[in-house]
Amino acid sequence: MADSVEDSITVSVWRGGARGGDFQDFQVPQQPSQTILDVITWIQRHLDASLSYRFACRVGMCGSCAMMVNGIPRWTCRTHVNKVMVDNRLTIEPLRNLPVIKDLACDMGEFFEKWRQAEGHFQGSSSRDETVAAISPKSSQRQAANAAIECINCAICYASCDVVTWNRDYLGPAALNRAWSLQNDQRDCARDERLKVVASDAGCHQCHSQQGCSTYCPNELNPTASIAGLKRMSVHWFMDQKNRQRHG
C-alpha cells in the first residue's frame, strides 16, 4: 500500500446505471507501471468489489476497455497513468454517447447496429474454391482501403463526436470509416448499395469535420478523411445518376 498521500491517486469513478448515477472517490496507490485499467482493477480488487467495467485483451487489440478519462475517450489498457493524471487526480466515466449498463460498462449494441446498417461487411463474388485475388498493395485504391482498415471497434471516435450526440441516427465515424474501406476494396460487389446507405440522411453528410474521431482514435486512423472520401464519392454517384437519367 501507499506510504503517504503523495503516493496515492484520488480517483473519481462514475457509479450508477441506466437511470443515472454519481461520482465516488477512491484512493489508489501509485505504481511505476500502471495503466488506467490497472487503477480500476485495483479498486475492484481491493476497495469495492462491486465496481463494473469491461476489458478483454489488455493490450489494445480488442477495443473493449474504452472509457472517458478526465473527460477524454481513451483505451484504458494502453493509457499510462502518468500521461493523463493531473495533480494526482483522475476522473473516470463510461464512454459518452452510449447507454450505460452499470458503472463503467456501456451497451455497445447501437454502435454495432450502425456498423451493420452501413453495410459494414464484405460482399464478394468469388468463392472459397478459387484462388485469392491478385491485388497490388501499391494500387491507390488498395492503399485507401488499407489506411482505414485497422479499426478495433472501440467506439472512442463514436464517443468523441458531437454529431452523434446531437443526432441519434447518425451512423458515426467508425461505421462510415469501415464503409469507406470497403468502397475501396476492388473485390467487393455491394458498393452501390452501400453508397446508398452512406449517402442517406443518417450518413456521411451529417459530419461537420469536428475531427474528434481522428484526434482520439487510439490506432491513429482517420475517420474524417474516410468520411470526406465518402462525401466526394456520393456526390459523384449522384451526378452520374442524374446524367444517366438525362441521357436515358
Binding site: 454529431v163 446531437w166 440522411d201 449522384f238
Partner: protein
C-alpha cells in the same frame, strides 16, 4: 436523400460565394478609407450591371446557404425535426432572399 442534396447545395453556394466575398472584402477595404458615404457607395453601384449581377448572385446564394446552415443548427442544437424544421428553414431562406433582393434594388437601381 434530402441531406445529400442539401449538402451539395450548401457546398455549391459556398463555392459561388467564395470569389464574391473575396471581391467584397477587397472592395470594402480599398474603398472605405476613413469612412464611407452614401454617395460614394451609390456612385459605384447605381446602374451597374456588374454590381447588380454580383450582388444579386450573392443574395440568392447566401439565402440558400444560410438557410441550410441554420437548418443544421436548429436540428442539432435545438433538436427540431419534421415540418417545424422545414418551415423555419424555408422562412429563413425566403426572408433573406426578399430582404437581400430589396437591398440590391436599392443600391443598384436608379431612382
Amino acid at each position: 436523400m434530402v441531406e445529400l442534396r442539401l449538402y451539395m447545395a450548401q457546398r455549391a453556394t459556398a463555392a459561388i460565394m467564395a470569389p464574391l466575398v473575396l471581391l467584397h472584402l477587397g472592395v470594402m477595404i480599398y474603398a472605405i478609407q476613413g469612412g464611407l458615404s452614401a454617395d460614394e457607395i451609390l456612385a459605384r453601384t447605381r446602374g451597374s450591371l456588374f454590381w447588380g449581377g454580383t450582388y444579386g448572385l450573392f443574395v440568392i446564394a447566401v439565402s440558400v446557404h444560410a438557410a441550410i446552415g441554420l437548418r443544421n443548427i436548429l436540428r442539432e442544437w435545438f433538436r427540431l425535426r419534421g415540418p417545424v424544421l422545414s418551415v423555419l428553414c424555408w422562412l429563413c431562406g425566403a426572408g433573406l432572399l426578399v430582404a437581400g433582393l430589396r437591398a440590391v434594388v436599392a443600391v443598384v437601381g436608379t431612382p
